[in-house]
């Protein structure tokens, strides 16, 4: 089976100006949204307590609210359905510092006459741990971007590295913006998804860069626009197919993976699409914006080649004993 018209070279550069302008401003908006509104941090980062219950029948949510409101500890607690009508999640900001006292026991005794239920999960995260996890998360995100930038710079060119980082920041910003808009809570899993995206969405970019590098070596065409158009067009099928396979599995995770990893799978789903889009329309065309010059690159290649030949010449002369 084949999906793609193979001989055609699409003019990505023609539309890229428009796409770059639109989505980079979207990314900028997301960043503003991030500073203005910020993530809704889950208890992993803000600290707090979550108790999850599963009733044998439909959970009597009103009775649960009423019973819990009588206890000071649960004042301001958010009580909501979780995944199914039998399951309930109770969430509140306070945490207890003692090892031997337990919220689970407390909930069990307060709600003892609300029906038969099972305490499935109790998560308590103290404020110190929360802020530590947040710092570590930011560190991991920044370091992985830096790591990728350095790697791309070593394997390709500096302008490739800069363009790839702009693409990555763009992807992460828009994904984060969407998370804020859709009220997806920032949890450890969502953070893991974002970090995975950083590592994954660069893949398609690298496939395209790899092709550009190859084209640059063989082509006589000095026009960067043509080189980029050819490279993106030639790699289009593999870019979309590789994203498609990952999209399939992330979709199954989203549909079948259960409520607990919804945050993770939703973020991945979103990010995979944005990452694919940006690889095609931003990462390569942005080289043009950065003023990457084909002539300069070719001159550099030629110089390298010349140096190599010179060296070999020197060596052979040396071996012959003429120097």
């Amino acid at each position: 089976m084949e999906f793609f018209a193979q001989h055609k070279t699409y003019d990505f550069m023609k539309v890229s100006r428009f796409f770059i302008a639109t989505t980079l401003s979207l990314a900028l908006l997301s960043i503003i949204l991030f500073f203005a509104k910020g993530f809704e941090y889950g208890i992993d980062f803000s600290g707090g307590t979550i108790v999850q219950l599963k009733y044998e029948q439909k959970a009597p949510i009103d009775k649960i609210r009423e019973d819990l409101s009588k206890d000071k500890m649960f004042s301001g607690a958010l009580i909501s359905e979780f995944g199914s009508p039998e399951e309930i999640q109770i969430r509140f900001a306070s945490t207890s510092g003692g090892v031997s006292e337990d919220v689970g026991d407390k909930v069990r005794s307060i709600l003892s006459d609300s029906g038969k239920f099972d305490v499935r999960k109790v998560d308590i995260v103290g404020p110190v741990v929360g802020s530590e996890l947040r710092q570590k998360g930011i560190m991991a995100a920044v370091l992985s971007m830096l790591g990728i930038m350095v790697y791309v710079a070593v394997r390709f060119e500096w302008s490739f590295a800069v363009a790839s980082i702009i693409t990555l920041v763009h992807d992460v910003a828009i994904t984060s913006g969407a998370l804020i808009l859709f009220h997806v809570e920032m949890s450890l899993d969502v953070l893991a998804a974002i970090l995975t995206l950083i590592g994954y969405s660069i893949n398609d970019t690298i496939i395209i860069y790899d092709r550009i590098r190859e084209e640059l070596k063989s082509t006589k065409d000095m026009e960067l626009m043509h080189v980029i158009n050819t490279s993106v067009s030639k790699t289009l099928s593999r870019t979309i197919l590789t994203v498609l396979t990952v999209f399939f599995v992330v979709l199954t995770l989203y549909v079948f993976g259960g409520e607990i990893i919804h945050g993770f799978s939703f973020t991945m789903l979103l990010g995979v699409i944005i990452g694919c889009y940006s690889s095609i329309f931003i990462s390569a065309p942005f080289l043009k914006v950065l003023g990457f010059s084909v002539e300069g690159y070719k001159a550099k290649l030629a110089l390298k080649e010349k140096n190599k030949i010179e060296k070999e010449k020197m060596r052979s002369q040396y071996e012959k004993g003429t120097v």
Binding site: Q52, G97, V119, V122, Y151, N203, I206, L253
Partner: protein, 526 residues
């Protein structure tokens, strides 16, 4: 039929298959023997806690025990010291007789890390920063050791107790099934088990209900509640006669009233101090204090030699048993606080396993059907590599003794999608070359060659982020990082080397065949 061609790639791939299948058997059967992937707390249920160790408390208690030994030294040498007090981390006293100065100085020199400043005969003692650091570190490692001992004696399977940073302890208890067990485990961990034998201040015993703690401190006393209830109070000499560090054993037995009691034994040094004290304090009372609660305060009738004592005080049998475990495994030098706790019930874990298995199987079926339909035989080859990848992933995780968490499962599902990427890249390259009219055999070789750099670069960037996720992630996230990192690394063996080997094996047939549609799923029009 043309015979296949064996090549080194295929041989390595076959070895990898055997290795992967054999090494993953213990995991699939969850057998007792052999390295296997164990399920994380979030999948099998259990308790995860991050405890903070208040190491500063250990410094204070060290000062107290230094105070005890100075007092004992002074009493046994008939040296009179006055105005003896502890203020947090400072210890001060005044020596009455200048002739004794030398003796006291000699004694103080034997205490390591002690800084002594003197104004005439008024001594102020503190610990050096270096010594404080040693105490902090020791308090942490001692707490880890103690908690581990207690949990081992409690009889839980595979408790994991580990240091985290400078002042934290990670405790993981898989397989706790009931709320009752969890409660006992938590109490056992948190129990300071700090045993002190203290003298009752007989001079001020009439004022137990009226004296304020600040007034008590002026007399060098401390007010502690009774174990039966906070409304009963005791005025005790602040500096204990001896503490639990001199304890060698603690056992549960039953009193004449059939009440459980705890018998403890002291080491020789403790026994001597205890003997001397009781000999010189006949008629006075001695308080047995556990975790700052007075359990009993019997009157001393005679000198007690042999160094053994008893704690009684309305324990239930279970309680007495747990207290004895805690005493035996030693006191926590520094109290612990709860920083993070995650307890997952077994039913939730089972649901998570089910959900992620469904996602895994569905994801696998979707991807492999897609590859088969899109690439025909090349898809079959890629799918073989994918299956081997899964086996190898599990085998290597088992070898490392990795735990499988829910995010780890998500990582495996994701690996399925990412592992075939390499084959997509290679196959698309081959198709491109075939379209240019290159013979199939040659196109395959060139396809692999050309695709290599792109695959390597993209996989390495993924591994970079996995490593950072592992370094900066916690708990289950580490599991995710491990499974994706191993999955991607293994895919380079299976998806690149393995599939190449398979093509080379079939090369004689490929060379004869002109069927691009069958081998690479291309339209016949080319």
């Amino acid at each position: 039929m043309t015979r296949g061609k064996f090549n080194y790639r295929l041989v390595i791939f076959l070895i990898a298959i055997i290795f992967g299948v054999v090494m993953s058997i213990p995991t699939f059967l969850q057998s007792e023997k052999g390295a296997k992937v164990s399920l994380g707390l979030d999948l099998q249920g259990g308790l995860h806690m991050l405890l903070g160790v208040q190491t500063e408390e250990a410094i204070k208690s060290k000062m107290k025990s230094i105070a005890s030994s100075i007092k004992f030294f002074a009493q046994s040498g008939d040296i009179i010291i006055d105005d003896f007090r502890i203020d947090e981390e400072l210890l001060s006293f005044t020596l009455l007789d200048k002739d004794e100065e030398k003796k006291i100085d000699e004694m103080l020199k034997t205490v390591s890390g002690l800084q002594v400043s003197k104004e005439a005969l008024h001594y102020t003692l503190s610990l050096s920063d270096q010594e404080k650091q040693v105490i902090r570190e020791y308090a942490l490692s001692q707490a880890v050791e103690t908690i581990r001992n207690r949990l081992d004696q409690f009889g839980l399977s595979e408790p994991n107790v580990a240091k985290q940073g400078n002042d934290k302890i990670l405790v993981e208890l898989p397989g706790i099934k009931t709320a009752d067990d969890e409660q006992r485990a938590r109490e056992l961990i948190a129990k300071a088990a700090h045993l002190q034998l203290m003298a009752v201040d007989e001079k001020r015993k009439d004022r137990t209900t009226t004296m304020s703690p600040t007034e008590a401190a002026q007399y060098g006393d401390v007010i502690l509640p009774d174990a039966r209830g906070d409304n009963i109070r005791h005025i005790l000499k602040e500096i204990p006669i001896l503490d639990g560090s001199m304890l060698t054993d603690a056992k549960v037995s039953f009193s004449e009233m059939h009440q459980p009691v705890i018998n403890f034994t002291l080491n020789s040094e403790g026994a001597k101090i205890f003997g001397d004290f009781t000999a010189s304090n006949i008629g006075n009372r001695l308080a047995i204090v556990l975790d700052n609660k007075v359990y009993s305060d019997p009157v001393i009738r005679e000198r007690i030699g042999g160094g053994s004592g008893q704690i009684s005080g309305g324990f239930s049998v279970k309680e007495a048993h747990d207290v004895a475990i805690a005493l035996r495994s030693g006191a926590l030098l520094a109290p612990v606080t709860l920083l993070e706790k995650r307890s997952i019930g077994p039913s939730l874990g089972a649901d998570s396993i089910k959900a992620s298995l469904i996602a895994l199987i569905t994801g696998f079926v979707l991807v492999s059907v897609f590859m088969l339909v899109y690439y025909r035989l090349a898809g079959v080859v890629a799918n073989i590599a994918l299956i081997v990848n899964l086996f190898l992933l599990i085998a290597i995780m088992a070898l490392f003794g990795a735990t499988l968490t829910l995010p780890g499962m998500a990582g495996i599902v994701l690996t399925i999608g990412m592992a075939v990427d390499a084959n997509v890249i290679i196959n698309e390259r081959i198709r491109e070359l075939l379209r240019q009219g290159m013979p199939m055999a040659q196109a395959i070789e060139h396809g692999y060659e050309n695709a290599m750099s792109a695959i390597l670069d993209s996989n390495i960037t993924s591994i970079i982020t996995s490593v950072l996720l592992y370094v900066y992630g916690t708990g289950p996230i580490k599991g995710f990082a491990i499974s994706t990192a191993i999955g991607i690394s293994v895919s380079m063996l299976t998806a690149i080397l393995g599939t190449h080997g398979i093509y080379q094996f079939f090369m004689p047939r490929i060379e004869k065949s002109k069927n691009l549609s069958l081998w690479f799923g291309m339209k016949r029009s080319h």
